[in-house]
Amino acid sequence: MSDFLLELRSEEIPARMQAGARAELEKLFRREMDATGVSVDEITVWSTPRRLALIARGLPEATEAVSEEVKGPPEGAPDQAVEGFCRKNGVARDRLEVRDVKGRPTYVAVIEKPGKATKDLLAEAIPAIVRDFSWPKSMRWGAASISTESLRWVRPLSGIVALLGDEVVECEVHGVTSGSVTLGHRFHHSGDITIGNADDYAMKLRAGHVIVDHEERQDLIRSGAARVASEAGLVLVEDEGLVIENAGLTEWPVPLLGRFEEDFLEVPPETIQLTARVNQKYFVCEDDAGNLANAFICTANIEAEDGGARVVDGNRKVLAARLSDARFFWDVDRKKTLAEHAQGLKRITFHEKLGTVANKVERVAKLARWLVKEGIVKPASSTTSAHPEPVEGSGAVPATRTSTGSARAVGELADMAEQAARLAKADLVTEMVGEFPELQGLMGGYYARAEGLPDEVAYAIRDHYKPVGQGDEVPTAPVTVAVSLADKLDTLASFFCIDERPTGSKDPFALRRAALAVIHLVLRNQLRVPFFRLILASTHRWYVSEAERQGHQLYADVYFGLQQAEGHEPNLSDVEKLVRQRFPNSDEIREQAFEGTRKLDEFFFERFKVQQREHDVRHDIIDAVSAMKVGDRKEDDLVRLLARVNALQSFMDSEDGANLLAGYKRAANLLKKEDWHGVEGEIARTGEEDPLSQVDDPDMKAVIEAKMALRHAKELSYMPEPAEKALMDALAISEPAAAQAIEAEDFAQAMAALASLRAPIDRFFDEVTVNAEEGNKRAHRLDLLAAFRAAVHNVADFSRIEG
């Protein structure tokens, strides 16, 4: 058994690529060893900016000899076949053996594969690993690069150390030959370091001022930064990303603390932190009160002769130059109001087919106002808002919070939502956001407060991009909710209307994320609205905007006004039908809007299902609920839909639920087998497409009357059996009880009402013969089962539930 060491030395590897490179090295090494049959146990992989190292412990000296048997043609097969088999396997015919295979004597070639020395296998594996190594970006270099076939690596590959035990594994990759010699720290060590074996590698490098274990460097930076901060009486602002990045930039990390002028603290702390972090990779510190301190911590790669004074001073100057830029931006930006900045949005293209950001802002502002006016986003009240937005600086609660629901409160909220929407994107044209795009929203919030806008507006500007990803905070302040929702709905509607939809892994405009954010906003804030109305309102805004852009406003408002006039919740086909009736002229933009609406509607439901599935909601349960109708429309009030889903899921997890489902399936199967469509359904069996077309036909009169008589047999013509009677009674109670509970949106109660049917349905199946010989009994019993099925369907479409 021997330990194997591989070091691939190169010019500085980007810090962000090192973790991936370690994984890649281990993966490729295991792949190569698996392929050659060398068993690999423990592997350690390390990285520094200048090297990747792998240590595999306890490799065997050689692989085992193996003998393989290859089955050939049966004995007595034509000579041609047998010879072909021999050729293919490199075996002489007289060496073939004969074995019994399923009772037939069959030729077998026995191929002996001798074991191979691990060292030889490694010598072949190393070039393969280097050649196959995948980097996010790679390059060619040097004289060999006269050919495009030359080796590609992240930066020039300069050396390979390969030792099995104490011996060099000799190999060559594109002119780089392996050996036992490496280099130490770029400045603290000169000359070669000869490695003896895997065991002395880390130690010898340490003597050469290189800490090869990246985790150890990370620990040093983490603890060193905390230490220098506390020595200065400050608290380090922890930043794991910076720890890893600095460990990826150094072989001998030395955290050093410096100070910058206190005056700079007047700019928003996020800007200081960002410029320190992103541009300079510095940590920042806080004082005891949690305020940002005028200090930074840089991580040097040397133990400077003067203890780092010059290094710190140089870094201080660079940071000062950056901070004076930030202060300059802060001062310049505040010379204009956000409304003035917003004028600049007319010059920024949002998307070539969607006009400028100013066009988008116009749509979002109208949509935000509409969301409030429609009562979808409501003024907050102390009772309904579980998490009121903290109002900084004062304990006073703004008037809007107490006058909930009044027309005045709605008006104020609508005004604020529109105002915030009109200003939300203005910071995109400020100098500060131009320099630090990550600060979008945040800076707008600062500027809004600096010019004295209401807190609600400032918070909405600040937070309207939220929620950005999985787990991000979902806004709850009404103004913010309105703007955030309007912004995302507009983005989705606009891109869908111009047919820019996510496909496969491509989602360049992050529309899936936007859809998820909309779903989170609706659910978190319990916004009660048929979802289709949101979609239609959004695509309508695009339609108006686009019609204006192309100079035909004619149909613009009419299109959306129609469905409102009908006084019931629209569905797309209604809207399309009505609008085409009234405005039969062809309208390309309108067709685009309809198509976008249709696609967006499907997209949202698909995203909703995906999102729910990620929360371990069973897909069949979602299907069972979303197949429900509300009036003539499908259920698309997400809040209610989800409440139903949750109630149904917990019901299905209970014993009652599981048993009821079994009863339901039995009933449904029977009805299907008997092809029972109720007594009315029997009418259709006359073969006409429209069963009612013949109701007035005198020839049919007798038939119809016979059927109607059957139907009226509700006043039963026979004495029902006890189990039959019990089911009838139970249905008579539970059906209206379930319906009432659903009306009240108490879905747990609706499930409980269904649960009371479980025992009667079980008993019914045990005791009653459905297909009785008497037609009236059969009809009644099938009707009874149909009524049972209908009662269950009022709660959820059980036919879609698995199990």
Partner: protein, 303 residues
């Protein structure tokens, strides 16, 4: 080491430049003079762009004055200038010890890597205008970017075969660092009392004013069109170097129009596309013209 004792880079801007010349000359570079045209970066010098193409070895170093009209601050900002110097070194093919050579060059101008923290931080370079890109680093000295270090991978849309290493030193900021001054105009230019401000302050004031306020925009639009036309004329006459010069000209005129604020965001992309066509077209024509001779001399090479 390769240090000339007569040079005093710690107190003289010009000595710092001369020390770099001494060093790179001793390491086999041609010492060239600046290209005599207005350009935004040393990379535009034909000694970099055109020489990066093809198989022939090429080692050169030179100072290139750079003009970035929008960076003008009327002489009021301590480290932003519309005119400044870059020091360019181009080594083709990139030698295996290029990093060591570079670090030695820092030592000859007085940067001791055991007193100052030198770091190679990922920074890839791309110039859509030139159809060029490369991988490399920005080199930090105590947190300040002092050099752009790039391995050219493509130029004019062609793979660089072989790859050239390009070093671009920001001379003023390096000198400010070495001399320990916080304002560029306070730099000691010659070690004998003439400051950078004495040489360039008035220039910055006047040129900032001209760039931002005075330059006649109709004339600039006209010049842009003429440079574009002349570039095509030169391409048609199979003189790609002349065509390339017109591309450089058009690029600078475009920068001036930007400074005058007369190009909208939408137009901007279209102007950039036009400049790019000229530059790439010139590089391509240069390649076409030279390729047969190169292929003959270097049989292992292909376009």
């Amino acid at each position: 080491m390769d240090r000339n004792p007569e040079r005093n880079p710690a107190h003289s801007f010009q000595d710092m430049i001369l020390a770099l010349h001494d060093f790179w000359s001793a390491h086999g570079c041609l010492i060239l003079q600046p290209y005599d045209m207005r350009m935004g970066a040393g990379t535009f010098h034909t000694a970099t762009t055109l020489r990066a193409l093809g198989p022939e070895p090429w080692n050169a170093a030179f100072v290139q004055p750079c003009r970035r009209p929008t960076d003008g601050r009327y002489g009021e900002n301590p480290n932003r200038l519309q005119h400044y110097y870059q020091y360019q070194v181009i080594l083709k093919p990139s030698p295996p010890d290029i990093q060591d050579l570079y670090l030695k060059s820092l030592e000859v101008i007085g940067i001791d890597p055991l007193k100052h923290d030198i770091r190679f931080v990922e920074d890839d370079w791309e110039s859509p205008t030139l159809g060029a890109w490369g991988l490399g680093w920005e080199v930090w000295c105590d947190g300040m970017e002092v050099t752009q270090f790039t391995y050219f991978q493509q130029m004019g849309g062609f793979d660089c075969k072989p790859v050239a290493g390009e070093l671009t030193y920001g001379l003023e900021r390096l000198a400010m660092y070495i001399q320990g001054v916080d304002n560029v105009y306070d730099l000691n230019f010659n070690g004998h009392g003439v400051s950078y401000g004495d040489v360039f302050l008035e220039n910055e004031k006047q040129m900032s004013k001209w760039n931002f306020e005075v330059a006649e925009t109709d004339a600039l639009f006209d010049l842009f069109g003429k440079a574009e036309a002349e570039c095509r004329n030169a391409l048609a006459a199979d003189v790609p170097i002349a065509a390339y010069e017109q591309a450089i000209e058009a690029s600078h005129i475009f920068n001036l129009l930007q400074a005058r604020g007369v190009i909208s965001v939408q137009e901007r992309a279209s102007y950039m596309g036009r400049v790019r066509d000229l530059a790439r077209g010139s590089c391509e024509a240069y390649m076409e013209k030279e390729a047969p001779a190169w292929a003959e001399k270097y049989p292992e090479w292909s376009k």
